[in-house]
């Protein structure tokens, strides 16, 4: 039996994974989700900001990673608009993040009746990541002289009183690459800008050292982070839906890893 398990056709595993993803989607249910400390820290930080404060969200993900990061963006923006916090959107790493950022900002703004230019703005993309971060520390308008639709920054009402990072309470970097390190290195170390991150599962392990040292005020880890934040703001969305289904896939994969290891060791003992 163990020999058969070791030589199982990988397509059977694909079918199992597909079934475990599809079947839970056909039913409505909710799996209990505990909020982790990094997510709670980010929530507490934003919750502690006064109405009228400003946060900046750097959308540094592309179409290949938006399923994990977009629910985070939506959840955090809902929280901000509920509290009257203004949101500035920018993109530095992925040029194709601009339409993604525009889409999620518009969706949340419609839901929360937020007004473009007064409650939120999307400045768009600028090349030269580290130089852009450093430039905005001196003056945002020196780097972003207009928003993504080419409206001069001076004509955007909410940007009238925002000159540089001194007026930005938090930078949330939603990232699928190495941009968080850039923001910490230049934004936090040089300008003492408060940084939080929402990252894909692939890179989340690299973020914990920065969290432990306080260089990150909070961290959203993949689908789970989005689901946790949605729970905190009591607005279940794509993150909650996703983590419910993902939990079954995780169980399946854990089971397969355990069975595979048992089969491997049993077979090795027999060969010896």
């Amino acid at each position: 039996m163990f020999e058969k398990l070791m030589n199982i056709d990988r397509r059977i595993i694909f079918i199992l994974v597909a079934l475990v993803v599809i079947i839970p989607m056909l039913f409505t249910f909710s799996i209990p989700l505990n909020v982790s400390e990094p997510t709670q820290k980010l929530y507490d930080y934003i919750e502690g900001l006064p109405a009228g404060a400003t946060i900046m969200i750097s959308f540094d993900y592309g179409p290949s990673s938006f399923p994990e990061t977009e629910p985070m963006a939506a959840a955090v923006m809902k929280h901000c608009f509920d509290k009257g916090i203004q949101v500035i959107g920018i993109t530095l790493e992925y040029i194709d993040a601009v339409p993604l950022a525009d889409r999620v900002m518009q969706q949340v703004a419609e839901e929360k009746d937020a007004v473009y230019g007064e409650d939120y703005v999307l400045l768009g993309y600028r090349p030269g990541e580290s130089f852009v971060i450093l430039g905005m520390g001196a003056e945002i308008a020196s780097v972003f002289d207009s928003d993504f639709s080419e409206t001069p920054i001076g004509e955007i009402p909410m940007m009238q009183n925002i000159t540089n990072y001194d007026q930005v309470s938090l930078l949330l970097n939603l990232a699928a690459g190495s941009s968080v390190e850039g923001w910490i290195t230049y934004g936090h170390t040089k300008f003492n800008l408060k940084i939080a991150a929402g990252v894909t599962g692939v890179i989340v392990s690299q973020m914990y050292p920065y969290l432990q040292t306080g260089q990150l005020v909070g961290l959203l880890a993949g689908f789970r982070g989005a689901g946790e934040y949605e729970k905190l703001i009591n607005a279940p969305g794509e993150g909650t839906k996703g983590i419910n289904t993902a939990s079954f896939v995780h169980l399946l994969i854990i089971g397969l890893v355990v069975i595979g290891n048992i089969a491997f060791f049993v077979q090795r003992r027999r060969e010896e």
């Binding site: 597909a18 599809i22 993309y125 580290s130 450093l134 910490i184 894909t200 896939v249 995780h250």
Partner: protein, 215 residues
């Protein structure tokens, strides 16, 4: 029109996943289409968001007199950038040293002091910091602080090749390997979560976004 887009997206999604059965022409068609479209899309966006606002517009405005002649200064970085193409000619390949030297110099000057502070000093402070307030820590936090130092020392020992890994050094580096394996396991688990997220989003699209328009 939106419905047509949904059908095309659904068809291409199924084409890509058909590879899980085996390689086939539908998969290759979707793969080539994705690569071609992605490159074309990125080129257009780069021209629109990069070349036009930072190169074309300043020069055009300087030529037409809409702005001062300072717009011509943009020609300096453009010419520097063009020197990268000197690599294509054996005779002029040496010219590429200039843009590379400028890039290296500026990047190093900006990065090294900040990176040292971010990744060395702050991390050392974070590792040893808890010992300065150890009296205020809970038992759980003290164990965490001890594990942190043990993990850092043992892992660094594993990567220290100036002494032979025998005797106590071998033991310490083996502990380091254990910490590394825990780290890799954590990274693998998170990667699985990330990949599963992508699959869930696509299946959700197929069930609710595509089949939802039919039934």
């Amino acid at each position: 029109m939106a419905t047509l887009g949904i059908w095309i997206a659904a068809f291409l999604t199924i084409c890509i996943y058909s590879f899980l059965y085996r390689d086939n022409p539908f998969y290759r068609f979707a793969e080539h289409l994705l690569v071609g479209m992605s490159v074309g899309y990125i080129i257009v966006l780069t021209i629109y968001f990069g070349f036009i606002p930072y190169a074309w517009t300043p020069i055009k405005n300087a030529v037409t007199g809409e702005t001062s002649a300072l717009g011509f200064l943009t020609l300096i970085p453009i010419c520097m950038g063009l020197l990268f193409f000197a690599r294509l000619s054996d005779r002029h390949a040496w010219l590429i040293r200039y843009p590379i030297a400028i890039l290296m110099g500026i990047s190093s000057g900006i990065m090294i002091p900040n990176a040292l502070q971010t990744d060395i000093f702050a991390q050392i402070r974070g590792t040893l910091g808890p010992y300065s307030v150890i009296g205020t820590l809970s038992a759980f936090e003290i164990v965490g602080a001890i594990l942190m130092v043990v993990g850092v020392v043992c892992t660094l020992t594993y990567f220290f090749f100036s002494v032979e890994h025998r005797g106590p050094i071998a033991g310490i580096s083996k502990v380091g390997i254990a910490f590394l394996m825990i780290g890799f396991g954590s990274a693998f688990g998170n990667t699985v979560m990330g990949r599963v997220a992508l699959l869930i989003q696509r299946v959700d699209f197929l069930i609710n976004g595509w089949l939802g328009t039919i039934f």
